[in-house]
């Protein structure tokens, strides 16, 4: 027969290639460095990667970096955990109980869009200028998205599985523990990716007032002095922090969700 049938495609399937991702980042930094060497990017406008690296190295050697990092990490850990525990509790309640559902969602919908940065002065009045207000900023920023995500995760557990549990006479608590929670876990964990990023973003706001230590405070003070090397060094640290947290969550997902 004269005409050959041509292949027309087998569905879209974008492939994951980790090396290509790393190569892209390396290429961007190399171009940036080259542009700086060529004199196209004045130092104040955008410092070169090598200048940022040197600033980072100095900070690490003087020990300043670790002080800032330690202060920020402990705030992140405490703030994120508080916001997450409270958010999970309310999110589960909204997902499971009719009495919690509408009131909970009404409150969350009303308060979620408020920029937490605008509330920092209030938090300082309520919780003091020390750690309290900083942790409250992070915790509240994490709390609302956690509630919404957790409630949605519970809602998306297949109703058929819950009916299966009921049809075998499983007690309510077993249905929650063995069917609802594991079914909601994948969505809850991917919510952690978002809330941990939110916490890192809010770090700068939380450390805006009355913080001597902390990556956010460091970035702000470098910014006020137009010390762009250190400003970007701090931002690189925040970005690296985000990557580390994402990696940790990825490991947790792989360990807990082996069944997928």
């Amino acid at each position: 027969m004269p005409d050959r049938v041509a292949f027309r495609g087998g569905g879209f399937s974008p492939a994951t290639k980790p090396l290509a991702g790393i190569a892209t980042l390396v290429l961007c930094v190399a171009l940036w460095q080259a542009a700086s060497w060529a004199g196209w990017l004045p130092k104040l406008f955008l410092p070169a990667p090598d200048a940022i690296a040197i600033a980072l190295f100095r900070l690490a050697r003087s020990g300043e970096l670790w002080l800032h990092l330690g202060a920020s990490l402990s705030r992140l850990a405490v703030g994120w955990s508080l916001g997450t525990v409270a958010g999970l509790a309310l999110g589960l309640a909204v997902g499971l109980f009719s009495i919690a559902r509408s009131p909970g969602m009404a409150v969350v919908s009303a308060l979620f869009p408020i920029p937490k940065i605008a509330l920092v002065p209030l938090f300082i009045i309520w919780f003091g200028i020390g750690e309290g207000s900083k942790i409250a900023t992070l915790a509240l920023g994490v709390f609302f998205p956690t509630v919404i995500n957790t409630a949605g995760a519970v809602d998306n557990v297949p109703r058929g599985l819950i009916r299966m549990g009921q049809s075998f006479g499983l007690p309510w608590i077993s249905i929650v523990r063995k069917i609802v929670l594991p079914g909601a876990l994948p969505a809850i964990l991917s919510g952690f990716r978002i809330t941990s990023s939110i916490a890192i973003i809010l770090l700068v706001a939380a450390e805006m007032i009355g913080a001597e230590r902390g990556i956010g405070a460091f970035v702000l003070s470098a910014g006020n002095l137009y010390d762009t090397d250190n400003l970007l060094a701090g931002i690189v640290v925040l970005s690296a922090l985000g990557l580390c947290v994402a990696w940790i969550i990825g490991r947790i997902e792989r360990a807990l969700l082996a069944w997928r």
Binding site: G160, M164, F168, G169, S174, K178
Partner: protein, 262 residues
């Protein structure tokens, strides 16, 4: 209601049910005799799943009631037990874990539980797959897990909602054969929902033909010979199939058009 000495009988009296205005079941009176296989046969959308849900206490009917009578075995943990069309397995539990799930809330030692899980897995030909995840199994194997899970609680009455309709024809025939042997040996009262005529005559001792929605009982056929040993090609079964088809063909055609309209 008729009570036989062995097993559980169910009775439905005056069942009406509507879903937000849509009348689905319109006055069902029915007796499910103990120790027999009752098939509920009807076109899609006629209310079979709803009726089965009402039988097992998963749906509260608008009117009417379900009663049960007869003896329940001493080791029966869940008298009315479902096997679901979509298998309803927990994807995060292994095959053995899915079966164990329904035993964990009952007072029994871990060893006794493991023994019982192993026993029903052996009965359904799943012993080698105890550690597998559901996603690694074919549809036929997944429904075996669904059946194993149901058998693990030693049910007095099995309620099956088109359990094999998601499977290919060969797998379905093989599973039907194994399944009929298992329930015959245990003498479990069985209610089997299907829209498939040859499945109905292959398994049913009492075949309840339902009309299209709103579901009513149109006629009840009986095939009194034992379920084990029946072949799909047996002459009496084919004759019964032909009679039922004669009865429902107009209904079936109308039901198809109705769904297309909706």
């Amino acid at each position: 209601m008729i009570v036989r000495q062995d097993g559980l009988a169910l009775g439905l009296a005056g069942i009406f049910h509507r879903f937000s205005g849509l009348l689905v079941l319109d006055g069902i009176d029915l007796i499910i005799p103990a120790g027999e296989v009752t098939v509920l046969l009807g076109p899609s959308g006629c209310g079979k799943s709803t009726l089965l849900g009402i039988l097992g206490g998963l749906i509260a009917p608008n009117h009417g009631e379900v009663r049960m009578s007869g003896a329940v075995g001493r080791d029966c943990l869940n008298p009315l037990t479902y096997v679901f069309q979509d298998f309803s397995l927990l994807p995060w539990r292994s095959v053995a874990g899915n079966v164990g799930l329904v035993l964990e809330d009952h007072p029994m030692t871990r060893a006794a539980r493991n023994d019982r899980v192993a026993e029903v897995l052996a009965l359904t030909g799943l012993s080698e797959f105890a550690a597998a995840w559901p996603r690694q199994l074919s549809g036929g194997m997944r429904q075996r897990v669904g059946i194993a899970r149901a058998l693990a609680v030693r049910p007095a009455c099995l309620l099956l909602d088109e359990p094999f309709s998601a499977l290919d024809a060969q797998t379905r025939d093989l599973l039907l054969e194994e399944f009929s042997e298992i329930i015959t040996r245990a003498g479990t009262t069985t209610v089997y929902v299907t829209h498939n005529l040859s499945e109905a005559v292959r398994l049913g001792q009492q075949i309840v033909v339902l009309s299209r929605r709103p579901g009513r009982v149109r006629e009840i056929f009986r095939i009194d010979r034992p379920v084990v040993g029946r072949r799909i090609s047996d002459v009496d079964l084919l004759a019964c199939e032909a009679r039922i088809w004669e009865l429902i063909r107009l209904d079936a055609a109308a039901a198809v058009r109705e769904i297309a309209d909706a």
